[in-house]
């Protein structure tokens, strides 16, 4: 079963207390954790894909304008409480396993090595074979 795990980061404090404000050692520990965790998922044969996204400052929203031409406006994140910081798609045995993976990610080390306990949204990917009708 495939699941998308979406890592949400708090908008408030992103600039004031975000990762850029941590001591270098803590940043390194965080990055090492993420890299190591992805490697672990891959070695378990569970990783379909994972990406970190560029910061919310650069986020833009596109709508189709006249004649379908892209109409670009500033991102929705100025007022939002949280923004999408990155995602994983995993292919694992069951929902419990997806929850376990999400919990590991949630506890990624933050400032001073304290677990961040980030909210991870878990959504099943529509991939089940249809039943006989």
């Amino acid at each position: 079963m495939k699941y998308m795990l979406m890592m949400h980061a708090p908008r408030a404090g992103w600039t004031n207390a975000g990762i850029g404000t941590w001591p270098p050692g803590d940043i390194k520990a965080h990055i090492n954790f993420m890299m190591g965790f992805n490697k672990e998922l891959q070695e378990a044969g569970e990783l379909v894909g994972a990406e970190g996204l560029a910061g919310p400052e650069a986020a833009l929203v596109v709508r189709a304008g006249k004649n379908g031409a892209p109409e670009v406006t500033d991102g929705p994140f100025a007022e939002a409480k949280e923004f999408l910081a990155g995602y994983w798609i995993v292919d694992c045995e069951n929902q419990e396993r997806a929850y376990a993976i999400a919990a590991r990610v949630s506890a990624a080390p933050g400032k001073g090595g304290v677990p961040l306990n980030m909210p991870i949204e878990v959504r099943e990917v529509m991939s089940a074979p249809p039943v006989e009708l």
Partner: protein, 422 residues
């Protein structure tokens, strides 16, 4: 000069022999990964030499011999490099320390394809791992093909397969036919893996359609191989029949945009009559043996559907009787759901609906979209369109299959529309 190529017969022959050769080599050398490499090399050698020199009289023996020779070479290199002779010698019984003699061959009663299947469907493996390993080792699909079919990166699939092999190795289960008392349980696992494999591929519109339907074909091919080795096993026959009878409807099951077409609305002239008659023949012979099992019953139900030239001609009382038997044999709420549909078809929707009420309390079905979908269907039959629309929408919100969600949403919209215009 162009290089000679194996013709289609040659390719099929290699495909059929590959798992037998792999099985023989693993049995001899007990090393899954190295054996796989050695067999790949032997297959390559065959693909290069046979078109020039002709297919040898005993192609299987030829391949086993070449693979065993490669295997011995591999092991020698390994030994020399790691200087582990002493350790390996201690671990290897004296009769296995020699390179295999040229007449190294296995009696016809030994079917290594089946042993290999038994190994791949090992209890220590999760079902997805067992499926991947089976496709790789027994089906001979490349890792890239398997990854493609399951829409995961090749590296991820490669890891899944190599972990599965390691798990089998560390479980210490020897490469041999399981003992009689283990065998029935193992065969159940094999049949279940093949059944899941078939379902993965069956008319699913997730991912590249071609690769997915290949999975069903592969499942049928493997079920056929098991049936050839165990022709008197009624459940093996039943599973093969079930696959054939279900797959026979493939062309009618989806529309031009991969939309699902329910059984009652399918163009039955598109059904594959050859597959149907083979399936009916198989399930009839299986049932006559007396050891009735769940695959045979499901096949029998599929056969009753397939034998109706028009949906209205479906023999629902017979289907109801078969579901009654199936319900007694398996504690699966999905069976109870289908039983309720049959009851509604024979005794009217209220009878079916009252059976569904009992299922509301079943934890395994709580919140499951199929319960809502079936209830909606029966409410529609009963003329309660408002209730049906609500049920279809609830089911649509909960399914994890895109074609099914599309079907349910459209169904709800049509019914709601009819209500307004009528």
């Amino acid at each position: 000069m162009t290089a000679a190529c194996l013709d289609a017969n040659g390719v099929n022959l290699l495909r059929e022999l590959a798992p037998q050769v792999l099985g023989a080599v693993i049995r001899r050398f007990r090393d899954f990964s190295t054996a796989e490499d050695a067999v790949q090399e032997a297959l390559l050698a065959a693909a290069l030499q046979w078109p020039k020199d002709g297919v040898p009289d005993n192609p299987r023996g030829w391949l086993i011999q070449v693979a065993a020779r490669r295997m011995t070479d591999h092991l020698r290199t390994e030994l020399a490099r790691r200087r582990r002779e002493a350790v390996v010698l201690l671990q290897t019984p004296p009769d296995e320390q020699m390179a295999p003699p040229p007449d190294f061959e296995i009696g016809a009663d030994h079917d290594d394809t089946l042993i290999l299947l038994f190994m791949c469907c090992h209890p220590a493996l999760t079902r997805p791992s067992a499926i991947a390993l089976t496709l790789r080792a027994v089906g001979g699909l490349t890792t890239a093909e398997i990854a493609n079919a399951f829409l995961v990166p090749e590296t991820t699939m490669a890891q899944r397969i190599s972990r599965a092999k390691q798990r089998i190795k560390s479980s210490g289960v020897p490469f041999r036919m399981p003992s009689d008392d283990e065998r029935a349980e193992r065969l159940d696992a094999v049949l279940h893996v093949l059944y899941l494999l078939f379902n993965e591929g069956y008319a699913s519109s997730v991912g590249p359609a071609l690769q997915r339907s290949d999975l069903s074909n592969e499942a049928i091919r493997l079920a056929r191989a098991v049936h050839n080795v165990l022709p008197n096993d009624a459940e093996v026959t039943g599973l093969l029949a079930l696959m054939l009878l279900t797959d026979a409807r493939r062309a009618a099951r989806t529309g031009p945009n991969s939309e699902l077409i329910p059984l009652t609305e399918q163009d039955r002239t598109l059904w594959d009559q050859r597959a149907i008659s083979e399936g009916v023949g198989l399930v009839t012979s299986a049932l006559s043996r007396g050891a009735v099992g769940t695959y045979q019953l499901q096949a029998a139900i599929a056969a009753v559907h397939d034998e109706a030239a028009r949906a209205e001609e479906t023999d629902w009382p017979q289907i109801l009787a078969l579901y009654g038997l199936l319900k007694r044999m398996s504690d699966n709420p999905m069976v109870t759901l289908n039983h309720a549909i049959a009851v509604a078809m024979v005794n009217g929707p209220p009878a079916g609906l009252s059976l569904l009420e009992a299922l509301d309390a079943d934890e395994r079905l709580a919140g499951h979209h199929r319960l809502d979908a079936v209830r909606a269907h029966l409410l529609e039959m009963a003329g309660d369109h408002e209730g049906a629309v609500a049920g279809y929408l609830r089911a649509a919100a909960r399914t994890t299959s895109i074609p099914e969600r599309n079907y349910l949403t459209t169904k709800a919209a049509r019914l709601a529309n009819d209500g307004r215009s009528g």
